[in-house]
């Protein structure tokens, strides 16, 4: 008899199934995904261009080709100027705030969807995992494109300032590690940009997703954006 039948425990879904659902969601919501991803792209492009520009300047200062520098020894000693550090930190902040904002919006407008999935039997952890996967992929793709755009911007500016000399002294690899964390070299910088974009996107979306997943479905579905 059905009465008194104990209620079983909900099962975990295989990872592949989550991956499939999250990709499908990104694909169908392509237009919206592009806008969210563009937020990440812009943030990282700004950061990478400022930073690369700085590295180029530093590399050329060291080689004595910079037009802006008069005392090469002094520049090499100082490494990176306070103004440049300030600019990099500012671009980092813009990047963090921009990405967090676009991810927050992207998740908040889907509260109803989260509530509905919970009505159909989704576990809280599954909902969070779905958003983690989606945002991780968006973050990585957006950041990679952003890093390349930023690099291109910095190269164009470098060419304008230093001409073809730029390519002889191009700081692909870390120049002088003793100068601190701001001399990464362009390759590492791109990698850093991608990882940063991905981490920020994941953090930016997993917090609101986790909050929504914890809400009773009725409340999640009631939430108006």
């Amino acid at each position: 008899m059905e009465q008194q039948r104990p209620i079983e425990e909900q099962i975990d879904l295989p990872f592949l199934e989550s991956l499939r659902i999250s990709f499908q969601s990104l694909k169908i919501r392509f237009g919206r995904s592009i806008i969210t991803t563009a937020g990440i792209t812009l943030g990282i492009a700004f950061l990478v261009s400022v930073w690369t520009n700085n590295e180029i300047e530093f590399a050329l200062q060291e080689s004595g080709r910079s037009s802006e520098i008069t005392n090469i020894d002094e520049a090499a000693e100082q490494g990176i100027s306070t103004k440049d550090i300030w600019l990099i930190i500012m671009s980092l902040i813009v990047c963090v705030v921009g990405i967090a904002n676009s991810m927050l919006m992207a998740v908040t407008e889907r509260f109803r969807e989260i509530g509905t999935m919970k009505c159909l039997g989704a576990l809280d952890g599954f909902v969070v995992r779905l958003f983690l996967l989606e945002s991780g992929f968006q973050g990585f793709a957006g950041a990679l494109i952003g890093a390349l755009i930023g690099l291109l911007g910095a190269v164009i500016l470098g060419l304008k300032n230093y001409g073809l000399d730029l390519f002889f002294y191009f700081p692909l690899l870390p120049a002088r590690p003793e100068n601190g964390p701001f001399q990464l070299g362009v390759l590492l910088l791109i990698l850093f940009g991608c990882v940063l974009g991905m981490i920020l996107a994941v953090i930016g979306s997993s917090f609101p997703a986790w909050r929504a997943a914890k809400l009773p479905p009725a409340e999640a579905m009631r939430t108006e954006v």
Binding site: Q3, I7, Q10, M117, C119, P216
Partner: protein
């Protein structure tokens, strides 16, 4: 002995809005038998949707207990509540609540994905269910490409995906025109009679009256009265006369 599927004991629900406390449910006691078609009726703000949420484990009561199949819902773990929503209940909402990124077919398969049903089996079942609700030819359309009535049919097919013993319908006809609303009511009634599914519906649609076994009138968060089918039929005649 009657087979009680849902029982509520002094269920109270309060919402806090700043310093104000709104008491949406003020001590509800009802018992619903297996296979019944129950309509929760009442004006907007009477608490019927709140009660609907309590019975469907979509929200937690502030006080009191809800028993489903003899089990106290407040004693269940998160995993058990998820399994309960997945297997025991099918939800139908006023605003359909379909996932817009999934086709009609994709919406119907989703609860079966959560239940761990293999792909081939769930695809076949989704096709069968969509056929049954009359959407055999629009299976792979996105919700945005369907009319209101068609979307509600998808929602009904989705609600049936894991063969629930209870269908919970919150104002299922409120966004539909009279004829489409009638069709949806008939479809839900058909499930009730043919498959013995218990139907609990929050509504203020008078068309729901003549298919209900019992009507629970809710007012100001309390059960005002419970009417049986024979009492209802007389009143439906009267209502029809005024229209």
């Amino acid at each position: 002995m009657p087979d009680i599927v849902v029982k509520t004991e002094d269920v109270v629900k309060e919402y806090r809005m700043g310093s104000n406390v709104l008491r949406a449910l003020d001590g509800i006691n009802i018992e619903i038998q297996r296979g019944e078609y129950i309509s929760l009726m009442g004006p907007s703000g009477s608490g019927k949707s709140t009660l609907f949420n309590m019975i469907g484990a979509l929200d937690r009561p502030t006080e009191g207990e809800v028993y489903i199949d003899g089990q106290n819902m407040s004693h269940l773990s998160q995993r058990q509540i998820a399994a309960f929503r997945c297997h025991r209940v099918g939800y139908i909402f006023q605003s359909y609540n379909l996932l817009n990124v999934r086709t009609a077919h994709g919406n119907v398969t989703l609860p079966m994905i959560f239940a761990g049903i293999p792909e081939k089996q769930r695809n076949e079942k989704a096709e069968k269910l969509l056929d049954k609700v009359g959407l055999g030819d629009r299976m792979y359309h996105l919700p945005d490409e369907l009319s209101g009535g068609q979307r509600q049919r998808v929602a009904i097919a989705r609600a049936l995906a894991n063969d629930p013993s209870i269908i919970l319908a919150d104002e299922p006809t409120a966004n539909l025109d009279t004829i489409t609303g009638r069709e949806i009511i008939d479809l839900i009634k058909q499930l009730n009679t043919e498959q013995g599914v218990t139907v609990i519906s929050a509504t203020h649609d008078l068309k729901m009256l003549d298919v209900s076994d019992r009507i629970v009138d809710i007012r100001d968060g309390l059960v005002e009265r419970i009417r049986n089918r024979d009492e209802i039929e007389i009143e439906v005649g009267e209502v029809g006369g005024h229209e």
